[in-house]
Symmetry: D2
Subunit: 305 residues, 4 copies
């Protein structure tokens, strides 16, 4: 089980303030984490990746490494220099099925789109060939690694028109493609007779809109944890040195979605309910939509796992 973080704001943040300096940053979480549902691998040392955009309507940049994030000098130095208003970050723990290689590090890019995944598609091998055969040629040939996550991205791309060359997408288009991707995976998994639960916390952006999900193929169990927070600024408190989400006014200038809260102030963080899709619009409005398929269960426990 991996974990991810995404950040979107009206003005750029120094990556260090998001990734390396906070005591409870995603990198520190990769040492010690309590909110997991898969205990096979007790932490996340099998590579990481960060992606960010510097200007709207352009391709983002990605930095990935198979070395652990916490001892990566290049990451630490770059994070002190790079500023961005839209950041994806991912730390990875292999589940044993796929190799640790840079080709298997999240996020992935295709045109202006960027994708990452926390979770795993159970029984993926039983649908891999079918998935790959459904893809348009350019998308099929773009696959560089062997993970379920990258293949799910390919399937998502296949739901869009001309994903390689378009600068931006409407948020409805991205939302629909995400729902179709999950529906298609479910259909194939059902037909293959896969009974194990799949965890599909996906996140995608075109550099302007962000769509992400907290999803599990179960109507009973909670999915892998996912939280969000919004406010006017994410920064360290002058007194305590602790990072906080500042809520100085009614405006929302920052939205963060993360597998675990990034600050010790739990009241800053709202749980995204299991089997929910979240949209962050270019203007930073946040919308949550229940995913109303056969796994939808309004009575599922709302408590944090």
């Amino acid at each position: 089980m991996c974990r991810f973080l995404l950040y979107k704001s009206n003005s750029p943040i120094l990556l260090a303030d998001l990734l390396t300096r906070p005591a409870h940053s995603i990198i520190m979480q990769s040492f010690n984490c309590k909110l997991r549902i898969d205990m096979r691998r007790p932490m996340n040392g099998d590579g990481f990746g960060i992606g960010w955009y510097d200007e709207p309507r352009t391709k983002g940049c990605i930095f990935t490494s198979t070395l652990p994030a916490w001892s990566n000098l290049n990451l630490q130095r770059l994070a002190e220099k790079i500023k961005s208003a839209l950041v994806f970050a991912h730390v990875r723990a292999t589940t044993g099925e796929t190799a640790t290689s840079e080709s298997n590090c999240h996020p992935w890019q295709f045109g202006n789109l960027m994708w990452m995944h926390n979770g795993n598609i159970a029984g993926f091998d039983s649908i891999k060939r079918r998935l790959q055969n459904s893809l348009r040629e350019d998308i099929y040939l773009s696959i560089q690694g062997t993970t379920d996550s990258e293949n799910a991205f390919a399937l998502f791309l296949n739901m869009l028109e001309d994903p390689l060359n378009r600068a931006e997408f409407s948020h409805n288009e991205l939302k629909q493609a995400m729902l179709q991707t999950i529906a298609q995976l479910n259909e194939w998994l059902d037909e293959a007779g896969v009974k194990e639960m799949s965890v599909m916390n996906f996140a995608v952006t075109d550099g302007q809109t962000v769509v992400c999900t907290r999803y599990i193929t179960s109507s009973e169990n909670e999915g892998a944890s996912l939280f969000y927070s919004s406010g006017s600024e994410f920064k360290s408190d002058a007194d305590s040195g602790q990072y906080r989400m500042i809520k100085a006014n009614k405006r929302e200038d920052v939205v963060v979605v993360a597998s675990e809260p990034l600050t010790y102030e739990r009241s800053d963080w709202m749980v995204i309910p299991t089997n929910t899709l979240l949209v962050i619009t270019p203007k930073l409005n946040v919308h949550l939509y229940p995913i109303l398929d056969k796994y939808w269960n309004p009575n599922r426990g709302r408590h944090v796992l």
Copy 2:
């Protein structure tokens, strides 16, 4: 363009005597090489791999790295300790289409079989899906990387019965599977309308028999260079310190096949003619067979490229 080496003998050689100590070893060749046909990448610094067997009828071992071979301390230290009577070695230069990752380093293994490739399959993208769709499920799912070379291995495996679990194969079986692999690739490349030449210097072993090819999809051009040498021992000369193939008696106790001669004594090395398949039997007999397809041309220049 990459280069490879394979060594088979009656008694184990220290890997250092084959790989790291000779002045003209495959690793030193990776710095500076004159016998190429692809000048896009003037040397081989994009990873390497060595494979070896310690006992007959067992799975071999592989050591791969994306760091250059010449500065790899682990390789240098291991080579001073490991002895083997059957060694594959490969240094890689990407041709730009595929990433430098350990998943893309030769050789690959499947059961007791080991495979490497020097060359490239032109227009591979245009036949990739068809190739993968022809594969049995376990072979399809075993593919870890994105190279034409690993996919060609998968196609070869698909020509064999139960390649994962059998301890050994007759040399005729391996030879036929190799010829079928080349024929199948050619058929698909033709149907896809690929006109560029493909270079298919393949090598495969089950730990006992070795089959390799020097092959190009052209009846005019020479293929990528390939040489072989045999004798009673491959060792350094007491006087000069130079490595030599010793021919102390009529017996052949050592056979080496390599993209370039490993010693400065050119008379030690015989050119393997273009479009030839070579078999080394478990008892170290060497047989050369012309590959009699439409690219066979007995009048092709016999000179070394």
Copy 3:
């Protein structure tokens, strides 16, 4: 805080049976460990190293990597092939002061000697120059990295006559050099006014004798944990599949020393008391000696931390 393991036996063990297959192997421990005294870095993902000897009176071999041990394919493949009767293994967590680089991975070699360290020398910077100035030139120039651990090895070497060229050392010689090393470090640390505790779990071998310590510069606190176990064979139980130390007869054919027990059978493991030096002779006799300096305290709690 790191952890280490050393294994010595009368007959070679497959490295996989020691390092990668046991459910509670040193590599699995590197995920999740409970017996630490330094909680700054909750696990060990900053590189690892293994060292082993194949023949007595020869230089050992080392394999190190800055990638985490648990996802290192080369380690997994080599461990299935290499057998040795004397193995050192180390997983590393940087304490922030020194870089993650192969030069900083344990164990280190000098001639036939091999060295590793679990712990840290507090205030090492304040004695580094003095230590280096005390070294003979060849030893000073052999230092490749920046760790306190490697510098402590250099100091140890400096206590020996001709450590580079001698094939073996008496166990008394190694023991005395170890005690002198600790005494010298203590003297300099005192003179530099360092008050923080240093943890000096050192292990050294010449390929035949092993000397190691559980030591802390405190008369109150327990040192970093260290255990040993001996028996006739270390292997997996046919029924449970769990690794066990078999005690089939009175003979001791295997001795293992480790930062944490390698098996779930706690009765197999004896605690090495804090501030004790342990010697394993070439014939596998084990001797424990209290280190009778100013930190010696016979009434220190004997309980496991």
Copy 4:
């Protein structure tokens, strides 16, 4: 022998336009280079580093890797995003004495200062201890690797007052410290009786002024090649796609110093004479000073090696 490049301009350049896109960029040079004086290692695949400043009077950023520059995906992606008006770049070939590790990759930083070296200090081992003993404590402890180059930087830092905390330095101060560094190295090398030639092409900057040298400890031989070019813009020609130094007006807005010309237009490039110190002022004035020590020889051949 390595090679380096430094770039300083009035307005930022995209790193890709300097490092990865030009057909004769430093990275492509690392494949194939003709202007060397040390043929032991025929190319540069033992790591690389780039350093750049984004704002004046701040610490620069560094990205280093032990993977070859030409196959480094992170470098290629970052170069498409990062812009800077002051860039250092270095590709490294080990000379066998020191390990390939990130600690040994150029450039190094200390406060706002950045340093790189093309060449080697012959017999460095014989002066290493003396050099390290001459250093102030903070500088001595900052050394992370084992190279002559990093130690020479330490010696240079030792010539300056408070190099860690000052934002900037006068160009005279940097020039004098460079000359003192070379003089001190020469004095110690002489006293140690070293007869082999040392090559000291050093470059240093505080983010505003650049000082570099082409220097050899010989009055007969030419030093390692070094060239410079200046103009109004370094960019690709619209017609040919070739990179050129544009000289649109009399103003000098760009200065490049490089081990080899970066463009095919040799008339763009001036040879820096052997044993010369070059200063680029914050306002982009370029001054050349002969280094008038015992190795100065006005009649040394001015031809390019």
